[in-house]
């Protein structure tokens, strides 16, 4: 029988904090006032600064190295060489447990940290000293373009970490995860087929073939990464800028002979993340270096990166795509086959990447996917602002091209093909019943809300047919998919009633995302019956408990369940104490509500009251005021804790069938639909995004302003990726040309017209109260929405992202 904490309770809830607007963010004052402290701000007494040497070549090894001038440079306190006996060829678990060199002596991309690290009195001294190293290079042929890399005679490139070493490190790492497989930089070929695409094409009225390309784009996080370590005797103290902060505490015993309980973990505010950096193997390994240098010098060491260093790497969808789609005249898609070549491995690690969303939310029975990994001399690709980019790109391209080629309204094509795993929407309805959900048609609700908001029926037109009075071409695009899943992760949290009647939630979590900690406090307030302002989560503090990391848009679903469960347990303890008091051999504490049982009491607005007569009441503060486990005081504190594995609701009935338990057999019920209007200037190729409507069925909006913040932010990020974000390398030398925030172009607030963020709440998510995640959804899905919008404007597909003015002008035959 499952714990009753996991029922949905979606109806008739009278929340005081959940779902309310105008809630003060618990981090709002600090962030808005500039007083919030980030790792980049931290200076410790006697602290040394360290910098890693970056390879000037995209493919080269160090034959020999003279560091004598570096060591002699004034202010340099330590030099760590890659041939140091303690680290030579050493591979350790890095981010997500993925093996990586502590300090390699050969580079696979220009800018790769290799060879030596300098620790000195300032960053500037490090930079100047590093210029004095004399290296005898083994310069090897290189290739940076995925298409060129597949031509005959292209240089042969190998895995960064050989497979046998990779496997051995994984084997010896107790925290190795399946995710570490996603970090191999390796060539590979995988195929996936469901049904028969041959049969599906034979049934089609029309076969539609096209190509798309996504150039490398990256995360561009605001806070430049750094890693600080100080050894206090034998006990290390670390300051972590990282989405997966707790992993750094976990990995210290694997790296050094020190138990976890001797490691002090600090997690200051995080200057945003957008994925990326956190998934780069060396984002964790740099802590090994700062720890080692701190140990050797006896001083705190801050290993610093600079802005350019943070641009070496890209997103998982970087690659080329070939599509073949079969469809009937009415828009029913009969088969989809996609071949993709991805950069550097991880995207191709799973055979169904790119076809996954067709399985997850369509009734298309016949699917085929071929994924190839092509290794090139660029930084690794990884989950940048989301790991689903390749999936949504493929899904979006297929639906928009089918609609355009058949002359159909794309929203109708979406509705016609909505479903799950080859089954239609009626099957979905059956599933909703089985899973104890409301039976609402989420896609239809999202589409109707979005169409109304953007005036779709008056604005949608046949591609390339609407010229505006200003001479520009009007385009409108639509894209859809399911809401993000809640299928992974684990979290633990403690709930403690402080003697003053306030409540501390105890768990560490990197504050990546948008007001997640505030949302947890909202849940806790309602579950405990406390006022919102009486609940606080200090997620920077390592209390021993750690929450699900802010990944995969899963953390609210996972941590929300955890908070709710822990709060319900803690509330029971509070009411037991209030009703029964406390008695031990030497101490006793009389009950606050004589003659009542715990079941007779409840809590609201931080006041405990008798349910049968609410006039009989005492504040929580009054009840717990003598609760303190020190000196002569009488009662240990009232607390409880709980944990939850995966954010997914497991079993509403308590009669768990295999299907209900297996998260991979759990259909998504909630949908999202986004609409974008553009004006394309045929004389300059300029695209102006004039209007965006985002509709997200988040199930239940715990913090509506937080949801809308993610919708707004997601659009800005997506518009940039659609129009101009691209990491540009000089092809002849492999050197990065735009590793800064001027030449790498993130959208500014002026570059997008009005955004209408619409929230739909069907309560069909698997999170608490029927909620879904929202963190990555909009930024991911709408990043290629510019494609259909431009197609609708011009009548010509320009699906080479980013869609630059040059590409528009070329498509129009102007150049």
């Amino acid at each position: 029988m499952m714990d009753s904490d996991f029922d949905y309770e979606i109806e008739n809830q009278d929340f005081s904090a959940i779902g309310k607007r105008g809630i003060w963010r618990i981090d709002g004052r600090e962030k808005a006032s500039g007083s919030a402290i980030y790792t980049a701000d931290i200076k410790l007494p006697g602290m040394l600064y360290a910098r890693v040497f970056n390879s000037p070549y995209p493919h080269a090894g160090i034959k020999s190295m003279d560091t004598s001038k570096v060591e002699a440079f004034p202010g340099v306190r330590a030099v760590l060489r890659s041939d140091d006996p303690e680290i030579k060829d050493k591979v350790v678990p890095g981010s997500y447990g993925a093996p990586w060199y502590v300090l390699p002596d050969w580079a696979m991309w220009e800018g790769e940290p290799i060879g030596l690290v300098v620790a000195a009195d300032s960053e500037q001294i490090c930079d100047e000293a590093l210029k004095l190293v004399e290296i005898d290079w083994d310069i090897r042929p290189f290739i940076t373009d995925i298409e060129d890399a597949q031509k005959p005679g292209a240089p042969e490139l190998h895995n960064k970490v050989p497979n046998d070493i990779y496997d051995a490190v994984n084997e010896n790492n107790p925290y190795a995860s399946a995710f570490s497989e996603l970090f191999r930089i390796a060539e590979g070929h995988r195929t996936f087929e469901q049904g028969s695409v041959k049969k599906g094409f034979a049934e089609a009225d029309k076969i539609i073939e096209f190509k798309a390309r996504r150039r490398m784009h990256t995360w561009a996080q605001p806070e430049i990464p750094s890693a600080i370590c100080r050894w206090n005797g034998g006990y290390p103290e670390i300051w972590v800028k990282h989405q997966h902060a707790y992993e750094h505490k976990q990995v210290m015993p694997v790296w050094f002979d020190v138990p976890m309980n001797k490691v002090t973990l600090h997690v200051p505010y995080q200057g945003a993340m957008f994925g990326g950096w956190n998934w780069m193997n060396w984002s964790t390994v740099i802590h090994y270096i700062s720890a080692l240098l701190s140990k050797r010098t006896g001083k705190p060491v801050k290993l610093c990166f600079n802005r350019r260093d943070d641009f070496y790497g890209g997103a998982l969808d970087c690659g080329t795509y070939e599509f073949k789609v079969g469809a009937k005249k009415d828009g029913t898609i009969t088969a989809v086959a996609i071949k993709s070549d991805y950069v550097n491995g991880p995207t191709a690690a799973e055979a169904n990447t790119g076809i996954y969303h067709f399985i997850e939310n369509s009734r298309i029975p016949n699917l085929f996917k071929e994924n190839n990994s092509v290794v090139v001399n660029r930084g690794p690709v990884t989950a940048v602002r989301c790991e689903q980019l390749a999936n949504t790109l493929c899904f979006n391209m297929v639906f928009s091209h089918v609609a355009a080629e058949l002359g159909l309204d794309p929203t109708e094509v979406a509705l016609k093909n909505d479903g799950y795993d080859g089954e239609d929407s009626e099957y979905l309805t059956e599933c909703k019943k089985r899973f104890g959900k409301p039976q609402r048609d989420s896609l239809r609700e999202c589409i109707e809300a979005g169409k109304k908001a953007i005036d779709w029926d008056n604005k949608w037109h046949t591609p390339g047919t609407r010229k505006l009075p200003n001479g520009k071409m009007h385009g409108i695009g639509f894209v859809w998919t399911h809401e993000w899943n809640s299928k992974r992760g684990a979290g633990t949290v403690g709930v403690l009633f402080e003697p003053d009647g306030s409540v501390s939630l105890m768990a560490q979590r990197a504050d990546t995302g948008l007001c997640a900690e505030t949302a947890y406090c909202q849940i806790a307030a309602d579950e405990l019956g406390m006022r919102y302002e009486d609940v606080f989560l200090n997620s920077h503090k390592d209390s021993g408990f750690a929450m699900m990391t802010p990944d995969g848009s899963c953390n609210l679903c996972t941590n929300g369940w955890v908070i709710r469960r822990a709060c319900r347990k803690a509330k029971r303890k509070l009411l037991e104490f209030a009703a029964l008091g406390y008695q031990e051999e030497f101490h006793s504490y009389p009950p606050a509500f004589e003659g009542c049982g715990p079941e007779d009491l409840d809590v609201k607005d931080s006041v405990i009251f008798v349910k049968a007569n609410p006039a009989i009441s005492k504040t929580v503060k009054e009840v717990v005021k003598e609760v303190m486990c020190v000196q002569w005081w009488k009662h240990p504190q009232i607390y409880d804790w709980s944990w939850k594995q995966t954010g997914a609701h497991v079993d509403p009935t308590g009669e768990a069938s295999e299907e209900l338990i297996d998260p991979n057999k759990r259909p998504h019920f909630c949908r999202q639909a986004h609409f974008m209007e553009v004006e394309v200037d045929p004389e300059t190729g300029e695209i102006e995004v004039t209007n965006v409507v985002c509709v997200n069925d988040v199930g239940k909006a715990i913090n509506p302003e937080g949801v809308q913040g993610q919708q707004y932010g997601g659009v800005y990020m997506a518009v940039g990726r659609g129009k101009h974000e691209e990491v540009i390398l000089d092809e002849p030398t492999g050197v990065m040309l735009n590793g800064n925030l001027l030449d790498y172009k993130i959208t500014t607030i002026l570059d997008c017209g009005p955004i209408d963020p619409i929230i739909v709440e069907t309560a069909m998510g698997y999170g608490p109260y029927g909620a879904n995640g929202i963190g990555e959804n909009v930024a991911d899905l709408t990043s290629t929405l510019l494609g259909p919008a431009v197609y609708n404007a011009l009548g010509v597909a320009v699906d080479d992202f980013p869609i630059t003015p040059a590409k528009i002008l070329k498509a129009l035959g102007k150049i």
Partner: protein, 327 residues
């Protein structure tokens, strides 16, 4: 950033004197929006030994209008120029150029003097730590020719050496179109002459010379400025264009058109001007002038699109000048 000497100049003479003492090894700083970036990235093999701060010189931050002539102190911030009513009324191209420069924050820092003295843009030349020892740094070649030249010159390399970096000031083409004069600590030159230099410099200024004020003669016609950039804020232009057209009885009597970001120096589109003289401003004549403006273009491998944009910018700037009643 490395350490350097720093001087707060109290007068123009003092600034000049310190600059002379350092003999080319000192750099002038005002708003600092260009020079600090260059220094932080250490794009040049040699680092300046000293910075001479001229913000401390009184009397160089002003906008005056005397008998229709606009005089702007070199230390006047771009935001002040953008918002100045007199500039907006008589020199709309200049006000618009100032408004479209960078972002609000940068316009509150950057000065008109600094804007016209800024160094060229090229991501090879400006790549941090002198990664590309290019022509402009005394190296052997221009890396843009065979590399990624999507933002480089469409009118060939610099006359003397073949550097394809571009001059990206938004103010410069407006000043050229308005036939402004640049007054320095030593001389006064017409704006167009101010930028006529070889590859190693961006202005005619000597090492010990600073800009003190800019004079814009009473305009003889309406002016306009257009900028094409990937983003509406922050970005330097991919192409910009300023035009001024004097009209009499519906015909253009004087035309001055200047493009920028298309060459190592502001590019006066004389052929386009010739097309416009004696004709009325309309879609056809502006289109013809746009075509004439790019007739000498020799785009590189990846910047052909800039030619089309330059043509359009010229056309639109001319059409926007068709306002005979506004002056």
């Amino acid at each position: 950033m490395r350490s350097f000497a720093h001087f707060n100049a109290a007068t123009v003479d003092e600034a000049v004197s310190v600059l002379r003492r350092y003999g080319g090894k000192a750099t002038v700083i005002a708003g600092g929006t260009d020079v600090l970036g260059r220094m932080k990235d250490e794009i040049l093999p040699a680092y300046p030994e000293a910075l001479v701060n001229i913000k401390t010189i009184p009397g160089l931050d002003f906008i005056d209008e005397i008998d229709g002539v606009i005089i702007i102190g070199a230390l006047t911030r771009l935001e002040d120029i953008a918002l100045n009513r007199a500039v907006q009324a008589s020199c709309p191209a200049l006000a618009e150029a100032a408004r479209r420069t960078a972002s609000t924050h940068l316009r509150e820092m950057g000065t008109i003097g600094g804007n016209i003295c800024q160094d060229v843009r090229c991501w090879y030349y400006r790549n941090p730590d002198n990664r590309f020892s290019c022509l402009k740094k005394g190296g052997g070649r221009c890396y843009a020719i065979n590399g990624d030249n999507r933002y480089h010159s469409i009118f060939g390399g610099s006359v003397d050496q073949g550097c394809y970096a571009v001059h990206v000031s938004d103010m410069a083409p407006a000043l050229v179109a308005l036939d402004a004069a640049i007054k320095t600590s030593r001389r006064e030159v017409r704006a167009e002459e101010f930028f006529k230099v070889g590859m190693l410099r961006t202005t005619i200024l000597d090492d010990d010379e600073i800009v003190t004020e800019i004079k814009i003669p009473k305009p003889v016609g309406w002016s306009a400025f257009f900028k094409f950039a990937l983003r509406k804020a922050i970005d330097f232009p991919i192409v910009n264009c300023a035009a001024m057209m004097a009209l009499a009885e519906g015909k253009v009597t004087e035309a001055r058109i200047c493009l920028n970001a298309v060459h190592g120096t502001p590019y006066r589109a004389r052929k386009a001007e010739e097309v416009m003289i004696g004709v009325s401003i309309n879609e056809d004549t502006a289109e013809a002038a746009g075509s004439a403006a790019i007739s000498a273009a020799i785009p590189l491998t990846k910047n052909g699109y800039m030619v089309q944009i330059a043509k359009t910018m010229v056309k639109r700037a001319i059409l926007a000048c068709n306002c005979p009643d506004k002056l």
